[in-house]
Amino acid sequence: MAESLTTEVLRDAIRRLSAQAESCADELSAIDGALGDGDLGVTLVRGMRSVAEQADDLPPDLGAALLQCAKALVSLSGSTYGTLLATGVMSAAKAVRGRTEVGWRETADLLGGALEAMQRRGKAELGDKTVLDAVAATVEALRLAETPDAMLPAARQAVREAIAEFRDRAARQGRARMFGENSVGKDDPGMVAWLRLLEGLA
């Protein structure tokens, strides 16, 4: 991982995430089909495609660049996941408005702020077995990482553990909640999607 986040780094990340979304789409839709309406793969593909389409036009101002990404993310889908991701990105955009560079140690706080925004947006609690729990695990791992290169591996490991930990709990938010006890034993689609995104970043 680079020492700091710039628009150039962001552009590179978008390309990786976009490719990853395409290759995980079917898997994610299938998981969402088991606990929801089966559109999560399509949602991610559409959202990332529309972000990628304008990756070349992103301005050096990181705040402006992230805002543009957030808007592109919500350009098509009416899905929960798209709105939540966009909410997180928009929170980060606000936090770094006017800056062209953000040091690696700051990224944990940026994601922490995004998490809070997503929580407010979705009115969910940590522990409800949603993507929030995966993001929270990520924030924690980033905080503890001692070098830039240690960040991503630690985050992936933490999210895998979170998924395993929540597997045997019942979902308390979104469509999965309607499945009640039947959601026990199944992975939350949003958490898995988050893991796949992290895997794509490497």
Binding site: L67, K71, G78, T83, A86, M90, K123
Partner: protein, 332 residues
């Protein structure tokens, strides 16, 4: 239930095309995918804009109520699905006449999330918004948890009264306050007799026995409060009126508009049979009915069933209710 349609995935888009072809004097398609309907004349400069949005399948709700004295624009999702954030932002742009925009829509998780997000987005561009959530369905949560209630047919009163206030030139905080006052005085409850079918799904949204009904069921088939044998019109109406009055007591001298609304298949003949009962109950109480609405105001495609809404009026609200409005589905 059988449907007259082509591609289920083009249901909403073809519907909107037909709507605008039939009523070009009322509606105009906007947005990159045509999923925003704005007044044919566009935003009114200097007027507070009114925006709503939600899933399709409820005509005249939501889109139908775009018109003079009512809404300025609407974001349209697939059948029973939330519109996207950017469709909502497009609708806000289409409604913005420079005096800010009121977002007035039903209390459903996805819609709230997306409208909140859209509001933040346009805020960064300098468009001020306020939100008035419709949560009139007394069957969906107890009075103590009123903020959790779903929005159903009562939203029509919200559109009408806030729409008239905006048309009269009030500023954004005033229009928002009027909308909230109107919605605060509005209560609904429904009864479902049959399910309906979402085109993209192709099978009924729920099951109900040959001789069953469910009181309090939501307009997407959300669980109600009492499932049982189909009762007579007066029995059903009595249960519904009791529930409404318990939630919002009415007294002698109160002035109230009542709406008997079909969910779709239930014909106006049956609505009038129910109205007859409801009017009798209010007469007994000494409450005065003002401008009763009987018809299809908020539907779930071909669902059979109906809802009853009470909107208690003060002098201001009564004037706003009687103020002129004009769209393809309703004219006052």
């Amino acid at each position: 239930m059988k449907k007259i349609l082509n591609d289920p995935f083009r249901y909403v888009d073809e519907m909107l095309e037909g709507l605008c072809a039939a009523h070009p004097q009322h509606y105009q398609q906007r947005g990159p995918h045509g999923r925003v309907i704005a007044r044919a004349g566009g935003a009114v400069s200097g007027k507070v804009g009114l925006v709503t949005g939600g899933g399709s399948g409820h005509l005249p709700v939501f889109t139908g109520y775009v018109g003079k004295g009512l809404l300025d624009a609407c974001a349209i999702g697939d059948v029973f699905a939330s519109p996207s954030v950017d469709q909502m932002a497009d609708a806000i742009h289409a409604a913005d006449g420079g005096a800010g925009v009121l977002l007035i829509y039903g209390n459903y998780g996805g819609d709230v999330m997306n409208f909140d997000m859209a509001a933040e987005m346009v805020d960064m561009e300098g468009i001020a918004t306020e939100t008035a959530l419709v949560a009139d369905d007394v069957a969906s949560a107890p009075l103590a948890e009123r903020e959790k209630r779903r929005g159903v047919a009562g939203m029509v009163y919200g559109f009408k009264l806030a729409g008239a206030k905006a048309e009269a030139g009030a500023d954004l905080p005033t229009v928002a306050a009027t909308a909230r006052k109107a919605l605060d005085a509005t209560r609904s409850i429904g009864v479902a007799l049959t399910p309906c079918t979402v085109p993209q799904v192709g099978k009924p949204t729920f099951q109900l026995g040959e001789d069953e009904m469910e009181i309090g069921m939501g307009i997407h088939g959300e669980p109600g409060i009492q499932r049982g044998k189909l009762q007579t019109a007066d029995e059903i109406a009595s249960t519904m009126v009791d529930a409404l009055l318990e939630d919002m007591p009415l007294a002698s001298g109160d002035r109230v508009s009542v709406m008997c609304n079909s969910l779709g298949a239930t014909p106006p003949e049956e609505l009038y049979i129910v109205h007859r009962y409801v009017a009798g109950r209010l007469r007994e109480l000494g409450a005065e009915i003002v401008m009763p609405l009987v018809g299809r105001y908020a539907t779930s495609m071909e669902m059979a069933g109906m809802s009853v809404t009470f909107c208690r009026l003060d002098e201001e609200l009564e004037q706003l209710l009687q103020a002129p409005c004009d769209c393809a589905f309703w004219r006052v």
